[in-house]
């Protein structure tokens, strides 16, 4: 295999990888606030992307506006879910919250099926289809665009978490909820902000990936790879989510070249099992001890 072809495969791996990274980030944001895995993340992403697409199908607005609509829908959806359901379960255990988000994912997927059918729809892309030639290497604009947009968003998130009051409050809650409350942080507001932020990040990932995998009520399933990416990087760690996503994307794209095609579909799961066996804390995660 030539180097040029290899570079092509790696770059498209990085493109899917950055989508996984965004999904992993949105899972980690909710996890850090509420200590629960949001099973409905993929379905929230799907519903927001559909909301943007519905407007686009009626009025041909520029794609940037479509993305803004999806983001607004996502913010509203995240806020509603936190306000109406999650907050009422504030006394619930993590186990209970996990079950609630599992139920939510079923409800949202079925509701999307009723509203938009279970068919696949093509989604307009920001990026052209003509490959860009860099010397002997030919790269798809979609790949480069996705990587670029994701990196920009990640930089924005990094700035939010390090440079703003809200971001610092969210990190404080992630570290120790009780101590955060003692220094005057409204934990409830951080909960709501986390759900809205996670939902928005998911929606952007959804709009970026929809042209590649098509828009359908089933598209939320790609979030399973977001889970795996987050575990690979160390669940709870945001740099870990990015590294895990990129790693998963590249390995998943390279694996079919070296492995028999029959186990191609199992690659992410085999990676998950391997990392859980070898290093459950993930690549960048810290090993925590249970406190009594």
């Amino acid at each position: 295999m030539t180097t040029a072809a290899l570079v092509h495969v790696v770059v498209s791996g990085l493109a899917t990888g950055s989508i996984y990274a965004l999904m992993a980030l949105s899972l980690v944001i909710v996890y850090n606030a509420t200590r629960t895995l949001n099973f409905a993340q993929g379905e929230m992403l799907m519903v927001s992307t559909f909301a943007g697409w519905t407007v686009y199908a009626h009025v041909k607005l520029p794609l940037v506006v479509v993305m803004l609509i999806a983001v607004a829908a996502a913010a509203l959806l995240g806020w509603l879910i936190e306000r109406v359901i999650i907050r009422h379960a504030i006394a619930a255990t993590h186990f209970d919250l996990l079950i609630i988000t599992l139920g939510l994912s079923l409800v949202l997927r079925a509701a999307a099926g009723l509203a938009w059918t279970h068919d696949e729809f093509p989604f307009p892309s920001f990026f052209g289809t003509r490959p860009i030639a860099l010397g002997p290497v030919r790269l798809a604009p979609v790949s480069l665009g996705i990587v670029g947009a994701s990196l920009t968003l990640m930089l924005g998130l990094w700035a939010l978490f390090t440079r703003t009051r809200l971001g610092r409050a969210m990190r404080a809650v992630a570290q120790n909820q009780r101590a955060a409350r003692l220094v005057g942080i409204s934990v409830e507001r951080v909960y709501a902000a986390s759900w809205v932020l996670a939902s928005v990040v998911g929606a952007i990932a959804g709009v970026l990936i929809a042209p590649v995998i098509f828009l359908s009520s089933q598209m939320g399933f790609v979030t399973i790879n977001g889970f795996i990416a987050a575990v690979l990087g160390g669940f709870g760690s945001m740099p870990g989510a990015v590294v895990g996503g990129m790693l998963l994307g590249v390995i998943e794209n390279l694996a079919p070249l070296y492995l028999p095609s029959s186990i191609k579909h199992s690659v992410p799961f085999l990676m998950l099992i391997a990392i859980l066996l070898i290093r459950p804390a993930g690549v960048l995660g810290r090993v925590t001890r249970p406190k009594v």
Partner: protein, 321 residues
Amino acid sequence: MRSLTLAMGAAGLLLWPWAAPRYFVFLASLIVVNAIVAIGLNLLSGYTNQLSFGHAGFLAVGAYTAAIVATRAPGAPVVVALLAAALVTALVGLLLGVPCLRLEGLYLAMATLAFGFVVVEAILNLDGLTRGNDGLRVPAARLGPWALATDGARYYLVLVVGAAMVWAALNLVRTRTGRALLAIRESEVAAQASGIHVARYKTLAFVISALYTGVAGGLFAFVVGFLSPDAFDVFLSVDFIAMIILGGLGSVPGSMAGAAVLTVLNDSLAGFQNYRPLVFGAILIASMLFMPGGIASAARRLRAPLAGHPRVAPGSRPGPE
């Protein structure tokens, strides 16, 4: 009063094939099969707090084992096929349970989810044994000279095995082992401090849970008569979780009630496939928000309205930390 109710219930179950149309006899068999899975899952999730998203995988292992035994050894009695299903699935449970000891909460959920996917992929790839996507036809269960070829005969087989499994579970949860499992659910650290070998009991819970599901899988193979890998997807695992959540975590009768309600509901929604997940999802959310403890604790409160209080008082539930 209590024994009278039980006797009437038993008589009703025994006479069911004479009273009900064929299809409802089949449905009743399915309820019992699902109840066995729900009890098995509850022994794991309700008693040791290890949530499994892979029980459809265990069910598949049991079902395919029984079907392959029945096909390859045509004269073998059904007991042999069921024992094989139980042993193979328990072994798989042990193999999965030992590495899963290191995991808890969502990591365990992810690992078992992955297990479910890997089982389906394995069935597709081992097509010499399982016939892959074409599906596997299961011969009628044999008991000595008889072939259990009618829905009624299969119902009695399922009922007898189911009764034995329920009896075993009811006794198990009252033994030293059952109490050790409950102690682990309440606090792993405290259980360990009281001298409970946490790793051993958690693995045991995995093995017993897999064994129950394996037996149910074997019965499922004979009741349905045809196996294909797509029947064992992750949504089936979610259905099993819904059964124990609705029925009540940590309750054997609750598991049975949850299995019965959701199996009947699933069947009556067969014509409305688009609404099915909507209903099941709503049940999951509503059970958690309004009926923690499920049917089992609701029934307890109904029976003793004054003394009744939830399994854990709402105020004392640990919040997210």
